[in-house]
Symmetry: C2
Subunit: 220 residues, 2 copies
């Protein structure tokens, strides 16, 4: 444990970013597992290996802690995404990249989709917070990457290589196909009679099958 030099050991130290981060990580784990309403401050304290009172010292109350966690999760998800969609790459290329990014990311954090979905449904007021993480603050109207996508689709239609599809539907389709299987993992595993290994294989299979399916769906 490195300490700032020249400090008397009895003087109260400044907020320890290390501890704060440990608490945040612990809260992340517990909130995602149990949902915000089902999570217990005690469980978070245990997970972080600190005392319950310390959570309040750093985050004041449960709600603020929940917001901090939610903020962290959503910003991580969408940072690379809108970049990719808004780039100048060919549509085929975008699709392949998006699928790869989503599936790799979600394979590591499979609980995230269900967490975000239930949070946003139970706390509509956090939609605003979500909004800020997706777009630049204060922006109005459809986000830039939608316009870009719309142009590319129209070009494809004129060239005769694509069916016409509204960009919003395009986004909804690709997001659905990538995210839903993780959000509905318990359902899918029951329905298709998969254990955890089976699910992993199922997702692996999807990594190549999904771009094929999606791109084929776009052709005229």
């Amino acid at each position: 444990m490195v300490k700032p030099a020249g400090r008397q050991k009895k003087v109260a130290a400044a907020p320890d970013p290390h501890t704060e981060q440990r608490i945040l990580d612990a809260a992340h784990v517990v909130f995602i597992r149990r949902g915000t309403a089902g999570a217990r401050m005690q469980d978070i304290a245990d997970e972080a290996g600190v005392n319950k009172a310390l959570l309040h010292y750093y985050f004041r109350n449960k709600n603020r802690l929940a917001e901090a966690v939610f903020q962290g999760v959503t910003s991580r998800i969408f940072s690379r995404l809108s970049e990719t969609l808004g780039s100048d790459a060919e549509i085929e290329d975008k699709v392949r990249r998006i699928v790869a990014i989503y599936i790799d990311q979600l394979s590591k954090t499979p609980y995230v989709p269900a967490y975000v979905i239930s949070e946003l449904n139970q706390h509509p007021e956090r939609t605003k917070q979500f909004f800020e993480s997706v777009r630049s603050p204060g922006a109005k109207g459809p986000p830039p990457f939608l316009l870009k996508l719309g142009e590319q689709i129209q070009a494809g239609v004129r060239a005769g290589t694509m069916r016409a599809i509204p960009p919003g539907q395009f986004i909804a389709n690709i997001a659905s196909l990538c995210v839903f299987p993780f959000a509905a993992k318990p359902m899918l595993c029951t329905l298709l009679d998969l254990d955890d290994r089976g699910f992993k294989a199922f997702i692996e299979e999807r990594k190549t099958g999904l771009p094929e399916f999606f791109l084929s769906g776009l052709r005229p």
Copy 2:
């Protein structure tokens, strides 16, 4: 209010199915809005227009009430579904029907997907309950409609009208495309800048666009 004839008015009556149903309906509303952990017995009582104690009289405790609601929701969802998938209809026909059924149903109960997703993630033990509502109790291995679907796909591949796709992926794709937009409604509305009317229009547009997209995705 019709009462059984020949009863003295002071004799305790049998459980009133009317009241029980009112409570169940109220619980349905509250659990789906707030999630099981976030729901309050008091709110359910208010919604039903009865006293809190009565909930315990009919359902003993919160957990049993939650199970009853969950049971009701899931059984309603999947009853018509496995029928349709397991029937002898052509694949094209099945796809169109499934999309129509799902979207009509979910348009009336848009909160259901997020509810089921978060319940199943937070209470893995209910997966068994879910299981029973989808298949006949005690069944082993992949459910019959999967086999049926697999045969039809193989026939299509031999005839040269379809690409090869595992039936499990087929199911995952169609479920994703139908259900996810409702589960992620707040996200989608933010991302695509839609209000409630806009979302309704978006779904309407999907009703015809989705079968086209999906069927095109199946072609070789």
